[in-house]
Amino acid sequence: MEVPEKLKGARVSRCVCGVCPFRCSIEAYVKDGKLIYTRGNPENPNTMGKRCVKGFASIWFAYDNDRLKYPLMRVGERGEGKFKRISWDEAFTIIAEKLKEIKEKYGPEAVVSLDHVQGCTWHYKCFLYYIYGTPNIYDHTAACDGTFTTACKVIFGSFWGIEDYVNSKYILIWGKEPFEAPRIVGFLQGLMEAKDKGAKLVVVNPRLSKTAEKADEWIPIRPGTDGAMALAMAKTIIDEGLYDEDFVENYCYGFDEFRKHLDEKGYTPEWAEGITGVPASTIRRIAREFATTKPAVSSAYHGFACYTNAFDAMRAVLLLNVLTGNVDKPGGFLLTGTPEGLEPQLKPPFRVPEDKIAKISKPSLREALGFHLAPDFPTALLPKVILEGNPYPVKAIILSQVNPIMSDANTKLWIEAFKALEFAVAIDIYLSETAMYCDIVLPDACYFERYDIIQGFNHAPMILYSEPALPPPGEAKPIYEIVKGIAEKMGYGEYFNWKSEEDWMRNMIEGLPFTLEDLKKKGFWIGQPEYKKYEKGLKTPTGKIEVYSVLMEVSGFNPLPEYKPPSVIPDEKYPFRLISARMPFQSNVVTQNIPMLADIESENWAEINSRDAEKYGIKNGDYIVIESPIDSITVKAKVTGGIVPGVIAVVHGFGFGHWGMGKVAKGRGAHINRLIDTYVDPVSGTVAYNECKVRVRKA
């Protein structure tokens, strides 16, 4: 086939996209030292040759002059942004000495590490855990998937669940945005294909989101009340005998208790109508349609999880699949992974002999603060831990491509906490807001400048391979080289003396049914998907699907899902609830320095219902001031009929309003996390970003 002139002679590398945590396998074309073209890996079922807009635009990382290129040491006050260039040797020496000092003075657990799960953190995590000995290694779970993964764990004993849109006939989506926050493009295509084949798409969401726009039915609901609707649907399905009797009889634990519980609590559609604002007749109709159309799938994700009552709501939404027997079958809710993580498990990149592994003497902060079921520590609570020294002192933070001052709730408190630290290191590709509060900043490689091996998100077990398409800019190094440098200075060089990256990659896939050469050939390996895993027994305490959760019971929580109102309720003084939404062309705090994306929308906006806007004299495009009990912001208003009255949605509220990062990102739009006080879900530890009441006025 004829190759376009532009691509003739280009070298193709296979990489794993790192713009969001969902790991799309891609192909990167480099010609004359320039990254000129990328596309999704055509052979990979998750991408099928496609990638999302954020992924395409991230080609800019190869051109961006604002990228960090040299190690930096802070010379001004924390946050002032004054740094001087130092050598890698100096940087490694300082970090090694400081880490040793803190370990001696306070113990290794005084060092907390935060990273993003976009990959390539294996050396870093294994070094800190096995060699340095801190149990406090956390990723962004609490800001994202915590509620979902914890619910999958307690109900199904799996790590993750995948909605098999393409084979489904009835798709019920709650606070989850396949079109607005496109993650894995293959799933999005599957959803469109299902619609083509006549599947009904119902979206429960306080906003007319991009997914709701395409739905056969949009059900506007009061934010934070989804649990009530899901429980009322469950009660309807059971009361009307529409549940899969055979399925609940054979594969589920605690169905009778659940039925009794729903009756005792009186979770009727009429009760739910008063809470959710959704008519009882609608709730009944959706319940009947969902239960009688097979296969069907019901699923929720992050938008839904931003409340302190979200865990039980998530359980209720996932239990709808259980009641109707739509679990781990084509067109239903597919289970993947074990409670420990995705399958197959990878091995550490280096081996530490048994007797040399660091002894962990203190419990992790997660355990110490009672989040026994949570997959991760609620990082939103970290500032308080640092400032109060309770349960033990935390004196240093190491960050790998994370920016908690921007991305976590309560900006002011985070800044205070960073000021109180003895030592902070940021490893990043930009001088992020959080990096400005660190003592040493190290330039990292981005996702197409390094090697990596990582699991993919699919129903079938999947391993992805990433190789560098380009060298990192300036003196920037991939994170495995950075960890090696620090480890050598601390006297642990023996674990890092690989001859080439292939050595540690081979270590990671040891014992798996493929070789590194196989991986390189296609860029990934995929196993066989396995359906109906519940027939062989699941990894829950009873081995069954737990409608009544034993894990919850032994952890001191209610084993059955119940409805509780959200923690923050709007009142006379602050009459609106603030929620955050997404725009499809920005990813968290990662992509705001890309000029092409800035051209699309230069700033973010606040959506307000037209009736509310009229009351306050707000017109489309006006600037409005949004005040919460702790802070205020100014943002452009978008007046729309596509939002529940009494709710203000700031779109992409934590990726805009940068004051660091780079020239393009700086000073555009508003940052809403400064309005949000610290609330977390007590079970999963997920940050409750939408627990916020506000008032508005014209600016």
Binding site: T38, R39, F56, D196, S610, T640, P645
Partner: protein, 175 residues
Amino acid sequence: MSSIRKGFFVDLDRCIKCHACEIACRIWNGINVPSYRTIIEIENGAYPFVERTNVSIACMHCEEAYCMAACPAKAIYKREDGVVLVDSEKCVGCRLCSWVCPFGAPKYGPDLKMQKCTFCNDRPDWMPRACEEACPTGAIVTGTIDYLEKVIKERKAKRIISQIRGRRALLYILP
């Protein structure tokens, strides 16, 4: 008679306004060029009965192109397969084309000369256009008019505008 004329088909039922087409277009045609695509959102109705339609438009390579007729420098020409192109050597930057184009397709770069969608004329036929290749929902389809008519039939779509001021112009369709 089968047509070799090429065109775009945009399925409004599928466009989610994610801008992937626009970004892929800019990457393929040069990061510093202006965006050739215009992507808009139209809201109708009042809460809770609200509907939104998203549309992604570039040059529609009209059968009878107004821009061509309007261009005083004769810089705009039509290829045999219907693709409308501009010769930037001849363009004088007068912007008359932007006055007559119903779709806002003509864009102007730093040299003030007109640039627009070239139907990725440097891509061979087997390769999809950059926008079509990127579209995650299959909303953009390109090909010969015959092929597009087939897709339209398959998707049970109907044309909303096939005539603009009496001339056959485009293949936008509404489900």
